[in-house]
Amino acid sequence: MIRTLNPSAVPHKWDQITLAHGGGGLLTDSLIQQTILPRLGNSALNELLDSAQLTVGDARLAMTIDSYVVQPLFFPGGDIGRLCVSGTVNDLAVSGAKPLGIALSFILGEGLSRSTFDRVLESIQQTAREANVRIVTGDTKVIGHGTEETIFITTAGVGIVQYAQPLHPDRIEPGDVILINGYLADHGLSVMLARELPQVKSVIRSDVAPLNGLVDVILASTNDVVFMRDPTRGGVAGVVADLAQRTNLHITLQEDAIPVRSETLHAADMLGLDPLEVANEGKVIFVVRPHAAASTLEAMKSHPLGKDAAIIGVVEKKPDGLCEIRTSIGGRRILQKPYGEQLPRIC
């Protein structure tokens, strides 16, 4: 007997929050589906996309919010300041929106040094300039003493949607092509190595960057982008498995085509992690119509943040809602949404 198993078919039972609820995987889904949506759900929220779309007169607005609790505050390739601006700019960009302004709310731990806070603010200033956005409002609060220097940042953004075509998973059709703008998993591994194994010297640097410039170039080059998403927590696995499930189509990725640096692959192997499940902060997945794939790839490669772009997969007609990977040796496996917190293995 062959049984079809769907990991979300069995509801997760829980009565207390664990760290895994914050991992961006199945447990985060269950947190949102079981507790938040039943009480707060509405047509905008229920979409669960990177930004909510709101209409004011003829204008289409995009609104998004995120919290940043990364430890350590500074890591190779970035810091919490660059992260919070990029994350919010990117959530607007993948919704086809041009950012109008960003709001920042700081929760600072008692004892935080002035110089650390200055460094974070300078990074925010620099990243905002790079992304051509303004910080238009904000808030500060201080909480009691912890053991380490604490900064939590909540960032909200509002943008105006300019792309003529709606960007939505419902528009994805068989034949559509999936592209990514470069190497995967560098952010998650850079932070994890800095936090957990500070004694390990690694060349891996976070890819954290505002992507609105790249997205503008692509959207100006074609009307055939149907959907975009930034593969942050949960990685490419989280995004693509979710798209397969939402569209009830089959998505096939070619393992050999997926860009992963060899040093990143080795670090992931050492920790027992799958690079496809690791977070990125400077990557965007594009789903485009088949005839626009080659020109989109070319447009991506013309931008510094897309020079290592690649076509990684295709949407197929089979209505099974599964994402499959064709491996280097010609084998096949399924790619699923990760469970939750990423745990390094024993040996």
């Binding site: 957990e196 990977i325 084998g331 496996r333 024993i346």
Partner: protein
Amino acid sequence: MMISLHEQARYWIDRLHAAAAKLSRPVQFMEVCGTHTVSAFRCGLHSVIPENVKLLSGPGCPVCVTSQGQIDQLIALASQESLTLCTYGDMLRVTGSDGSSLEKARSRGASVKVIYSAMDAVKCAQATPGRQVVFIAVGFETTTPATAVAIQAAHRLGLKNFSAFISHKLVLPAMRALLRSDDVRIDGFLAPGHVSVIIGAEAYRRIVKRYQKPCVVVGFEDVQMAQGLALLTEMVNESRMEIVNLYPQAVSARGNPRARQLMDDTFQVRPVSWRGLGLLPHSGLALRDRFKAFDACERFGIEAIDVPEPAGCRCGDVITGRCSPAQCALFGHVCTPVNPIGPCMVSSEGTCGAWFKYARGRALPQEVFA
């Protein structure tokens, strides 16, 4: 001219199919190491091998072979006041008899810390002199030397607040126990890569000689695993019982004598209870008398308890090749990655977890794509 990895893999898969066509009966090989289990699924190995060659998962996932009694004891220990439990990540989500886990204990306020090396636990003890720090020492020969280093460091430092819950096991006694059991047929082994670094490729000589089973030591690359299966199948065809080492860059014939000496200085062999295999003599490790002060069981008066496995859970059969995950009635329905019952579903090296994750739990990966 460089031959690409893809071409190399293709070559060995073709050779495996050619050898399999000459087999007089179907064969079953076992990969003993949990990392191999996951590698095989990740590269889609099961979907490219011939139907008459089956790759079984063995007792190589340290968390999966840990007895239910020890799991329960650890979860109980975590809730003690002024105590920090340091563990490798794999143990965090393993389910206790009452449905609890270290992860759930942590969310209720228990101090459970995920560490990456045994020495992190020693450092944690040094940094928190007012707290008892217990290191959960699980794993095979791969992780045991690191525990030995930590115990000896704690001894030198005279740490009074550090101890280890020793659950280290040895791979060879488990392989021999499997070969002696009459309900599972194994025609050869893909020998564990990491363990072999320590014990050496020659350690499998007795298995090859006495039980007449070929062993191939392989690394974790897809090409090596395909090559290993091809060579095992050819050896079965030719009744050639040998040890082949395909991982010489890491594994020598004699292994790492310094690491083994360190283990021997710190530990003595004892009988230990395995999930799926029961009590096996000479299969586990205990601290030698001069390090007994660092034994968490002595310090906290923990006595070995015998606890039945969760009702219906067949993890014990899965890790001994007696059944596939899909043959367990709980698999995929009651027991899933979000609601795990047995350890094989939650460990990152667990067989059930890999079946569920990479093949969506279908009986045979080939059938997923039929």
